[in-house]
């Protein structure tokens, strides 16, 4: 710094002479960045509060749904209890109903009978377990055993196949 440099102490001059003084464009840029950040922050906060509120609402609805399901189940149970057979029988007896003693079926002449073949509503499944395989599981009498049985039967005075008449 040279010795003849004039330094003014007036505030306006001081500000004007600050070495890092911003240009107007730079200041505008800063303001824009600040505005963008503020906007993003505002959006984030708004969104976050909406998400939180919605989450609480979902929780509430989930809870409400559970309660309604439980209430529905309780009502179904109540209906089932009211329809219980011993209860129905007691009530029917109170109303004067009696068990049937004799049932008579009456054949109605020319009653329209469906000619459609009645199909069973089930399909029978055969397991892989043939009779022959199963018999093999149990020891079959051998030739000698058969002869021995015949001999024993002969000694005992009975015919092995005496029952087949």
């Amino acid at each position: 710094m040279s010795s003849n440099t004039m330094i003014s102490l007036r505030p306006a001059n001081v500000i004007r002479q600050i070495p890092w003084r911003l240009g107007s464009k730079t200041a505008l840029g800063f303001i824009l960045i600040l505005a963008i950040f503020s906007l993003v922050g505002w959006l984030y906060l708004t969104n976050a509060s909406t998400v939180t509120a919605t989450s609480y609402r979902i929780d509430e609805l989930r809870f409400e749904l559970d309660q309604l399901r439980n209430q529905n189940a309780a009502l179904i149970l109540e209906i089932a209890e009211l329809e219980a057979l011993d209860r129905i029988e007691t009530r029917a007896t109170e109303l004067g109903y009696r068990p049937i003693a004799d049932v008579q079926y009456i054949a109605v002449d020319n009653y329209p009978i469906s000619q459609e073949p009645v199909e069973s509503n089930y399909q029978v499944v055969y397991v892989e377990n043939s009779v022959d395989d199963y018999i093999d599981d149990v020891e079959q009498p051998g030739w000698w055993q058969v002869k021995l049985d015949t001999l024993v039967a002969w000694f005992e005075g009975r015919d092995v196949d005496v029952l087949t008449r």
Binding site: A48, V51, T52, S55, Y56, I58, D59, Q67, R69, N70, Q71, A73, A74, I76, L77, I79, A80, E81, E83, A84, L85, D86, I100, V103, Y105, A107, Y111, I113, Q115, Y122, Q123, V124, V125, Y126, V127, N129, S130, V131, Y134, I135, D137, V138, E139, Q140, P141, D149, V160, D161, V162, L163, T164, R165
Partner: protein, 576 residues
């Protein structure tokens, strides 16, 4: 000066040592035990709540509810954080039907947590939750409820307080009925609530499927009522009834007496929980003659119109076998062997069959093995065969009329059903349909094997019908041809058989030409009469008469006339 330097070095050394200790501790916390502390910290903030799944319902074949879950609440309090114990006690006293002072003492106690009342109804629990009072807790809890009370207790089983199923369908299908529990995980607030904004996870619980049984509650009701009546009427100790569809193996009813209420299983004796129709093993007695006769006919050692000489006794393997009346009946028809229930006759059939063929047929009919019915605690019975060390030649004779062999009621029901079903042995089953949301699985009837030929089965059915008619059985149902056989089995005791007590039974099916129903009745230790023909047979008749009406099984003459008319109409329609 030297002393001052010494002091400085000492202090520096102490400080360095302290510093090293601190650094060491920091290294331990930050590096060595980092994971433990990190997990600990996470656990402090993170929380996981398991959401129990709703247990699947059980319904009968017509859709009537047999078992479901009911929500109850356990009410408790954290006294330290209840702001207004006075007002809260006032409100709770009316709602919980408890003395106000008792509640007030609980709410003002110094303990961190105190229970108030358990198992309160759903409506009360929800009211308390609606108050949103800090410090007042209402915890939901599932309770298994059986709206029909003790109806079908033996095949249903029960569920304990921890949600585990025992016995019957509840036990057998426990895992399936339980469903899959859900999960809610996330950050926890200081009050213990999950923060909705934090990182969270929600897995919804999946309820268990609904099981539709083959059981018809109407049939079950008739079976249980008549069984109870029979046990009391004949002064018996207990009894059981199985009603089955012979063509499919579907169980329509399974009754055991005495029974228990699964809603209150805790007050019943444990021995009542077991289902006697699948777990209890007994000597079948003369009902078993159906099986021996089937084997004899099928193997061709006897003809269904043949005769046999009954000399009053027969020795098999060194043991003399007598008839129940200790009499000789001379030349008798095969049908009379069944009608008069002659032990000597069936023992001769067994001897003629030979041990190998006889036991092959026993196994064909499923004895000595599980039927694999979908119920827990099934017993396999006991069938000694020549391969077993404890088998004796005399067993061939005694087994032929159901002595020295142990079976379960469901085994006998399945075996006799095979005769009713053209010789096809079906697997008994109790769950008809499994409904899980939109998915539906229909259980199909399963043929285990052809026990005897259809021809044998038809011949035997005719013989059984004729035998009941000849013996003027009390099981006969007016209007229907009934096929069946009584049994009066002696009860084994150590060293032999009880001199007086018996197990009376009857197994029969109707209509004989197109069997819709098989009914097995077992009366254990009847005292008014020891004979199956005087106890089990009339019980069979009472059940069959009611079920024929209930299930709309038309009498034989109506069905025959309808069939003739149908054929006539068909002929008319087909005429040019």
């Amino acid at each position: 000066m030297e002393q001052a330097k010494y002091r400085i070095y000492t202090i520096m050394a102490i400080m360095s040592a302290a510093g090293l200790v601190l650094i060491g501790q920091l290294v331990r916390w930050q590096v060595i035990e980092h994971h433990r502390f990190a997990t600990w910290a996470e656990e402090e903030h993170q929380d996981e709540v398991v959401i129990p799944a709703r247990r699947g319902e059980i319904r009968d074949r017509t859709g009537h509810l047999l078992a479901t879950d009911l929500i109850e609440y356990d009410i408790s309090a954290s006294p330290k954080i209840i702001a207004d114990p006075d007002g809260t006690a006032d409100r709770l006293a009316t709602l919980l039907d408890m003395p106000r002072n008792e509640i007030y003492q609980i709410l003002t106690s110094k303990k961190a947590w105190m229970p108030l009342k358990n198992n309160v109804p759903q409506s009360i629990g929800e009211t308390i939750l609606g108050w949103d009072t800090v410090g007042l807790l209402a915890e939901p809890r599932s309770k298994r409820v059986y709206p029909e009370g003790d109806l079908g207790a033996h095949f249903l089983g029960f569920v304990n307080n921890n949600g585990n199923g025992f016995y019957g369908v509840e036990g057998y299908y426990d895992n399936m009925l339980n469903g899959s529990p859900g999960l809610q995980a996330g950050e926890r607030s200081p009050f213990g609530d999950l923060i909705p904004l934090g990182v969270s996870r929600f897995v919804p619980p999946v309820s268990g499927p609904t099981l539709y049984l083959t059981i018809d509650r109407g049939v079950q009701y008739v079976a249980e009522r008549e069984l109870e009546d029979a046990v009391l009427r004949y002064g018996a100790q207990s009894g059981s009834v199985v009603v089955m569809q012979p063509k499919t193996g579907a169980i329509l009813a399974m009754a055991g007496y005495p029974s228990y209420d699964p809603n209150n299983y805790g007050v019943s004796n444990e021995y009542l929980f077991s289902n006697p129709t699948v777990s209890e093993q007994y000597e079948p007695g003369s009902v078993f003659k159906i099986v021996t006769m089937a084997a004899g006919l099928d193997a061709g050692v006897v003809g269904h119109l043949g005769t046999i000489y009954d000399g009053g006794s027969i020795e098999v393997g060194g043991r003399v076998i007598y008839n129940w009346d200790r009499k000789s009946h001379g030349e008798v028809e095969m049908t009379d062997v069944l009608a008069k229930s002659l032990n000597v006759g069936v023992a001769q059939i067994a001897v003629a069959l030979g041990k190998d063929r006889f036991y092959t047929y026993m196994k064909r009919f499923g004895f000595g093995q599980l039927t694999e019915i979908d119920l827990g605690n099934e017993g396999p019975g006991t069938l000694k065969t020549p391969k077993d060390a404890n088998w004796h030649e005399s067993d061939l004779g005694t087994n032929s009329f159901g002595q020295g062999i142990a079976v379960t009621p469901v085994q006998i029901a399945a075996a006799v059903s095979a005769v009713a079903n053209d010789g096809l042995l079906m697997k008994p089953y109790i769950v008809q349909r499994i409904v899980d949301g939109d998915r539906q699985v229909e259980v199909q009837p399963t043929v285990i094997r052809q026990a005897v030929t259809a021809e044998t089965a038809h011949k035997l059915t005719d013989m059984l019908v004729e035998a009941l008619t000849r013996s003027e059985s009390a099981s006969l149902v007016p209007g229907y041809r009934v096929a069946g056989k009584t049994g009066t089995a002696e009860i084994p005791v150590p060293g032999g058989y009880h001199p007086t007590l018996t197990l009376a039974s009857f197994a029969g099916y109707l209509p004989a030409d197109d069997p819709e129903l098989l009914i097995l009745v077992i009366i254990d230790r009847p005292t008014s009469s020891r004979w199956g023909s005087e106890t089990a047979s009339p019980t069979f008749k009472r059940i069959a008469e009611q079920l024929a009406v209930l299930l709309n099984i038309l009498p034989d003459d109506i069905r025959e006339s309808a069939a003739i008319e149908g054929e006539a109409q068909l002929t008319l329609n087909n005429e040019p």
